[in-house]
């Protein structure tokens, strides 16, 4: 083991992309997404090029296509919304596969679908090459408000502890013959949620006590300094810079 904090999205590896400092990767992904979103939707070829860029990153990171595509499933609710657009958006109508659809709706759907998919794919790549812990360090390095970083890192630490508590409460309920069946039992479940909240709150107080006892005065001490060399920045920024080139072409052509 010794691999630190493994999470389901992360894919362990030692590729050049894995080795990049987390804050460089965060900036690169954010830059890429902003560029993609600002591309005119009519420049169909530009989106194809973006996809090629991401595929290249995936290849360098040795993330298999199947892995990436499976993780893209999170996008499904947005896809459903996009598929509705051609039918509900008013405007000029046209025939497509025997259905009457609106042209602006089609463009809208394409816009959401293409940009959304590229954004999600970039994020999935980031998540599969960066451990959660390093992502937090990266965010800290990028001067995200420290309180937000602390909250996120406590979620990381205590998520399993609280899930476990919930599981024990559920076992205790079922051991006394309770089975949640229908609306009449919602009250019991609500009380469970309340009890869990109180337990978590009290744990929070005890954790705070333990922190104060070890010298906590409101800010987390810096334990791991993440630094990036100029070369690493250049390497990470290759993706958004190339994308920016594509985007500018998309506006001029």
């Amino acid at each position: 083991m010794g691999a630190g904090h493994a999470h389901r999205l992360y894919r362990h590896g030692h590729s050049p992309v894995h080795r990049l400092p987390p804050h460089c990767k965060l900036v690169a992904v954010l830059g890429f997404v902003v560029v993609v979103v600002s591309t005119p939707r009519e420049a169909l070829w530009a989106f194809a090029l973006y996809a090629v860029l991401l595929a290249a990153v995936a290849a360098v990171a040795r993330v298999p296509a199947g892995f990436l595509l499976k993780r893209l499933a999170i996008e499904v609710p947005f896809v459903a919304f996009a598929l509705l657009m051609p039918f509900v958006v008013p405007g000029e109508q046209t025939e497509l596969l025997g259905l009457t659809v609106s042209v602006p709706g089609l463009w809208g759907a394409w816009n959401v679908l293409a940009k959304g998919t590229l954004g999600v794919a970039a994020s999935v790549l980031l998540a599969s090459t960066t451990e959660l812990r390093s992502l937090l360090l990266g965010l800290q390095r990028l001067r995200l408000p420290p309180l937000l970083v602390q909250i996120a890192s406590f979620m990381l630490r205590y998520g399993d502890v609280i899930t476990d508590e919930l599981r024990r409460m559920s076992i205790a309920r079922r051991s006394r013959g309770f089975e949640a069946r229908g609306v009449r039992h919602w009250g019991v479940l609500a009380k469970t949620a309340g009890a869990l909240f109180i337990r978590s709150y009290e744990r929070g107080e005890r954790v705070h006590l333990a922190m104060v006892s070890r010298g906590y005065t409101g800010t987390m001490p810096v334990i791991d300094e993440v630094t990036a060399s100029r070369a690493q920045w250049a390497y990470a920024c290759a993706l958004p810079v190339l994308a920016l080139g594509v985007c500018l072409l998309g506006w001029t052509v």
Partner: protein, 268 residues
């Protein structure tokens, strides 16, 4: 039948070595904001290098006393000194470095994503950085035999391992006194013995709050009983445990079949 609160192996009795005692509590009284008074004048001195068990029934004020030792609670009356330094607001940072409290639930104590970062939290809060910090962390983990687990998240460890890491988190601050709250609770017999072995090797003053009387006998030559907010007895652990009247009076009970006379114990 009750034994007067006499400071048996007290610092006055020992030849004064000129070193300030690790812990000096005198006349400590405290009432919670809701009016409930928990401590009524506690006097307790723990010399450097001593291991003392703090015994007492539930509700005797043990936790309240512990929270005074590093200034989490402010004394209503009386004083607490750690190695000569009074527990006051302006000394709090140094006091909290000197007093290492190991809380009962390691999941409360270990709040960082990895073992290494957790052990580093205290020294890093005190301003240590870089190689010196790394060295301190590994040394503390080594003392509890957990150096191989540095990069693991705490929730992937067994309960006994988490307890040991919790001890390492305060050892990393190089404390004057280690305060352990129920160190043997929830441990299986093997982990219990492993922890005892570790505690015996530590060259540090220990105050151990516990209901586990055999464990107190095994590790601490001296014990005090806190009952109704005062120190009701202070003596060699073995003698305290053998005083059946005193024990009954303070709701302390030995486990079935355990005879404190039958074991060889450490002598101060």
């Amino acid at each position: 039948m009750s034994r007067p609160a006499r400071p048996a192996p007290s610092p006055e009795a020992a030849p004064s070595s000129g070193v300030a005692p690790s812990l000096e509590v005198s006349g400590l009284a405290y009432a919670y904001p809701d009016g409930h008074q928990a401590l009524f004048g506690v006097d307790l001195t723990v010399r450097r290098g001593e291991r003392v068990a703090l015994l007492g029934p539930n509700g005797a004020g043990k936790t309240t006393l512990v929270l005074h030792l590093n200034g989490i609670l402010d004394a209503g009356a009386g004083t607490v000194r750690v190695a000569g330094l009074p527990v006051e607001k302006r000394n709090l940072a140094e006091i909290r470095r000197r007093v290492g409290i190991v809380f009962q639930d390691p999941d409360d104590q270990l709040f960082m994503p990895t073992v290494r970062e957790d052990v580093a939290f205290g020294p890093a809060s005190a301003g240590l950085r870089g190689a010196a910090l790394e060295e301190r962390v590994m040394a503390a983990l080594k003392r509890v035999g957990m150096e191989e687990f540095a990069t693991r998240p705490p929730h992937h460890l067994s309960f006994g391992q988490r307890r040991r890491v919790a001890v390492a988190t305060v050892l990393a601050m190089e404390p004057e006194i280690l305060v352990l709250d129920e160190p043997s609770s929830n441990l299986d017999p093997a982990s219990r013995r492993e922890l005892a072995d570790i505690l015996r090797t530590l060259d540090v003053t220990v105050l151990m709050v516990t209901h586990d009387l055999p464990y107190a006998l095994e590790l601490c030559p001296r014990a005090v009983i806190l009952s109704d907010g005062v120190i009701a007895a202070d003596d060699h652990t073995q003698e305290l445990l053998c005083d059946t009247g005193l024990m009954r009076k303070h709701r302390l009970e030995l486990p079935f079949g355990f005879d404190p006379r039958s074991v060889a114990v450490p002598r101060p």
